[in-house]
Symmetry: C3
Amino acid sequence: MFHSPVVLALDLLGTFAFALNGALTAIRAARLDLVGVLVLGMVTALGGGMIRDILLNVPPATFGDLRYLGLAAGGALVAFVLSVELQRYARLINVFDAVGLSVFCVTGMSKALDAGMGSVQAVLLGVITAVGGGTLRDMAVMRVPTVLTSDFYAVPALVGAMLAATGVWLGLDGLVAALVPAAVAFTIRMLGVRYSLRMPRTREADPATGRRRRGGRDKKRDD
Amino acid sequence: MFHSPVVLALDLLGTFAFALNGALTAIRAARLDLVGVLVLGMVTALGGGMIRDILLNVPPATFGDLRYLGLAAGGALVAFVLSVELQRYARLINVFDAVGLSVFCVTGMSKALDAGMGSVQAVLLGVITAVGGGTLRDMAVMRVPTVLTSDFYAVPALVGAMLAATGVWLGLDGLVAALVPAAVAFTIRMLGVRYSLRMPRTREADPATGRRRRGGRDKKRDD
Amino acid sequence: MFHSPVVLALDLLGTFAFALNGALTAIRAARLDLVGVLVLGMVTALGGGMIRDILLNVPPATFGDLRYLGLAAGGALVAFVLSVELQRYARLINVFDAVGLSVFCVTGMSKALDAGMGSVQAVLLGVITAVGGGTLRDMAVMRVPTVLTSDFYAVPALVGAMLAATGVWLGLDGLVAALVPAAVAFTIRMLGVRYSLRMPRTREADPATGRRRRGGRDKKRDD
């Protein structure tokens, strides 16, 4: 429902960011070679949009627009070539992930509305678009998906998609109406990574339930 | 091919049962937080039907009928809130799984017939609907899927789907014709869990091949 | 774009080979029972084509043509019954995998062209068809997919799909034009398995970057 050049620009940005993130994950976490880096980068970059389009029962946009394929492969190659430089800034891997997450929740929501979905479903599909690529990435390298272990992965995507849907409902469709929800989602995600924020656990698992807390134990996973 | 109110009622029952099961798995096996519990509950509840609809190349029913989304999220929340009480009855997690399995093999078969599939394909899609959610659940928490490790997971779904298809072929389409196959599937599954029934292994792996036996070794996985 | 009897024959060959491979993997690597062997054999055999058809947004061919289902189940049963004999020739499991890989990259590319895809997308879908079944197989038994860890898995599929696309572009559509790319892909894959060929790694991960080498460390995975 947003102007299509805005959605396209954000979508390509997210594709490139997720490709960098997936490729760096392949290099750092799984110590894969060139082909593995390329494949994991492309899966991370294109997976969320593919799952969205499959659930919308439309042909995946990836195959109709070569720029997606090109940016996904290009991002993975850039990460491969610059891996030493990029790893010097270890936090960048989380920043790339957060960029992809926060723009895909907005563009995914918008594309679901375009396909005729209701608001609730469009918000959910925005979240699925945002977390889908990272979930495939984690499962491919045998990690429990971040969306399950880190509370501040689905939550920022949900907030971003809901804000974007509210904007559409208010009749806003410009660049700012798409960028503000993405910026809010990005900020929440990065605060979650920085402070390892947690949602309440069940009583048995965590006696201090009902209060958000800065966890120490889980820091290694998010950082 | 069954009356649609019957299919809808069973489908919603299965969705709720699988949501409880997926959420309890998230709490017990993977010690996840609220978001992880919600996500895993919804994936378990909605995954089988989504895979079926994707393979039928129709838009997933989940997005066309908000009751599915509501029951999936509601079931996961109920399990989260009542987790201490529900865990006191440890077997309930298997009962919920068996309920979802046994109603989804019937409704999935019926929906595949409605979509124009032949009998063989409809039975197979019934099995896929029944085991799909649990398979995504297991893979998400890095467990080998139950459908591979427990013989009495695919088999009861297959029996239920075949009985339901036989009923349709005989011209039966009422509540009883849908409930009997589901009850048979449920009974077989629960007997399999209780007695850890096994299908034959290859000669090398198990010298006592060709005979079903009560295994001790595999009990921990099914119980 | 190839003559359809050629594509059908190769497709059925690949289905049978992947069913044998998946079933043997279930027996050897995961020590599964009859049901697990059947399920993993069918997933390996049918998974690549299903992913391709889902991405093409067409109904999966598997459900429109019972020969695919029959060959997949039959291949898995043959492997189960003959498992002792087949395991005496341990390399066979890689040969079956290479056969499936090399024919599916050609038939998948051809079917994508038939569905109206451009050349680049058709080549990519050929690769996805070829590696898809094995990737689902590996993920189901909790192994990092071969396509990520072994460089000479995606590469032979890519070469085969590109050669086949070149043949179509030259106006060739006969049996030879389909068999030659498949034979080249098969040969590259088997050389990769035999000599554990590797693509370059990043500088940090492998100081000897830029040179292919016969690796010792990775041999256990490919062999």
